[in-house]
């Protein structure tokens, strides 16, 4: 299949939504997850349970809620985000953030607790300690990011609902697969599916590469 400019445009839009949502969910998720892991407060277990539940949020329900929020009749209707890329990034951010928080939480928790105590004993500030812990947890974080990327780019229900699958504006790889299938153009649907797989494969290859490097550099 030739790389038709229209196809390329859909691929780029998919990446735009995915990377956008991943950046937002990382900016929110990593600090929150780290804070959760390193702080003790009453009700922490309940919060943790919330986060783990959030990791399994049904995307289509998130899409529905975002749709209702952004609808002209909804509370955020004045933003005029519905059926635009902003709405898709918002929905995907909501889907991916609990995932990033959860992965951050567990990878920070898996860092040897003695390390923190030692660092503090050596006179490191709280900030320096946190950064070192995050550095030790980096491998887990990368896995989390890649998993987030994979789940966002392959999500279809929420982006269909809030994006509207509008040609040249909000059509992404997954919604293109749905559309071509509905149209009966199974070969084109399959082609989009293969592109989606290739993008996922490429991401995982990058992950494996990073994994190898981080494995080597870890003492």
């Amino acid at each position: 299949m030739s790389l038709d400019p229209l196809v390329l445009e859909i691929v780029l839009r998919s990446l735009h939504v995915t990377v956008g949502a991943l950046i937002f969910s990382t900016v929110i998720g990593v600090p929150v997850g780290t804070w959760f892991a390193l702080t003790h407060f009453p009700g922490k277990r309940i919060f943790t349970a919330f986060i783990y539940t959030g990791m399994g949020l049904p995307p289509v329900v998130v899409g529905l809620v975002v749709y209702l929020l952004l609808s002209r009749a909804g509370p955020l209707g004045s933003l005029d985000w519905l059926f635009k890329i902003e709405a898709m990034i918002l929905a995907q951010t909501i889907i991916a953030t609990p995932l990033i928080i959860g992965v951050t939480l567990s990878s920070v928790l898996s860092v040897e607790p003695d390390l923190r105590r030692q660092l503090r004993a050596l006179g490191a500030t709280r900030w320096q300690t946190t950064l070192s812990v995050l550095y030790e947890a980096r491998f887990g974080l990368i896995v989390g990011l890649v998993a987030g990327f994979g789940s966002i780019i392959s999500e279809v229900g929420a982006v269909m609902l809030v994006g509207g699958n509008i040609e040249g504006r909000t059509r992404v790889l997954t919604t293109a697969v749905v559309l071509e299938t509905r149209r009966g153009a199974f070969d084109l649907a399959l082609a989009f599916g293969i592109i989606l797989l290739l993008v996922a494969l490429l991401t995982n290859a990058v992950l494996v590469g990073l994994q190898g490097r981080s494995g080597r550099s870890t003492p």
Binding site: G164, R171, R183
Partner: protein, 307 residues
């Protein structure tokens, strides 16, 4: 293990609660379909006792318009009961429905795109095409009618005005029968719609109406789906209707049983006979939404009986 699982339940419950709260807070654009008490909807009682032999299954590929409107729910139980059959309805666009038939994945198709239906039969995928009924398309848009199409005498004139004003128009863009009709009207108007104002969504009629409503845009809709969406938070009004180029005939085609062994040819034929019979045609005529009929019976048998 017992402690976390209890916790999990509490969390789940809270989450559900918050979701429900969310839903009631912001008015949902739910369709208020009132499938008027049909005489047909009578004993929808499941497998009757005499069903000693397992019911046969008929796979029907049809368009979203027949299913979304509630017509099939109103009439199919009668067929299912009478012939001890379960009908699996696959509601998709006309393009996919015909493709399903072409691949031999269904027994019968009920669609509305005359040219493609004829091609389907001519290519040997279907046995023959039979008239069933028709409904009509309407051009809907915001009440304010920014492009000023309400006075248009024909659909072509309305489309030309919309394009001239570059008013937002939401297209199905999914090769469905409705999309096919839309394209043919653009062709008659000698316009190739493109630009920011023309939004091709590739979605079903219900979704397209939602999108058009949200954006206060124009669109071409089948009357059935439009009527079924009327209600709270739906503000689009009918601006152009009744033009000949907006009539929408439906045809039923049994799939060629020679395609594969799993196609139930006799049952498909039985279905076609039933669907075009005077009794069923009267059921179709009696199907209304908010008191308005959606489909007008038009089978050969029915037309003959009227004379």
């Amino acid at each position: 293990m017992s402690k976390p699982s209890k916790l999990y339940l509490i969390v789940l419950f809270t989450l559900l609660l918050s979701l429900t709260a969310c839903q009631t807070a912001s008015p949902t654009p739910t369709a208020t379909v009132a499938p008027t008490a049909e005489p047909t909807a009578e004993p929808t009682a499941e497998p009757t006792v005499e069903a000693a032999d397992a019911p046969q299954t008929l796979r029907l590929a049809t368009t979203t318009s027949t299913d979304d409107s509630g017509l099939l729910d109103a009439i199919l139980p009668v067929f299912e009961e009478e012939f001890n059959v379960t009908v699996d309805v696959i509601a998709v666009g006309t393009g996919q429905a015909l493709e399903l038939g072409r691949n031999g994945d269904v027994d019968v198709v009920l669609v509305h795109d005359r040219a493609r239906e004829d091609a389907f039969v001519a290519e040997g995928h279907g046995v023959a095409r039979f008239d069933v009924m028709y409904n009509d398309f309407i051009i809907v848009g915001p009440e304010a009618d920014p492009a000023g199409i309400a006075d248009s005498a024909t659909a072509v004139e309305a489309f030309t005005t919309i394009a001239g004003a570059e008013a937002v128009f939401v297209s199905r863009g999914d090769d469905s029968g409705t999309h096919g009709r839309e394209k043919s009207i653009w062709a008659l108007a000698e316009i190739e719609p493109a630009g920011d104002w023309y939004q091709s969504t590739g979605q079903g009629m219900g979704e397209v109406l939602t999108i058009a409503n949200e954006q206060q845009a124009y669109t071409l809709a089948d009357r059935g789906t439009y009527l079924s969406r009327l209600g709270e938070n739906f503000e689009l009004v009918i601006l152009v209707e009744g033009d000949d180029s907006l009539l929408n005939p439906y045809g039923v085609i049994p799939v060629n049983p020679e395609k594969n062994d799993s196609i139930n040819g006799p049952l498909a034929e039985q279905f076609v006979n039933w669907l075009t019979s005077v009794e069923t045609q009267e059921l179709i005529a009696g199907f209304t939404i908010n008191g308005e009929p959606l489909f007008f019976p038009d089978s050969e048998t029915y037309r003959a009986a009227q004379e």
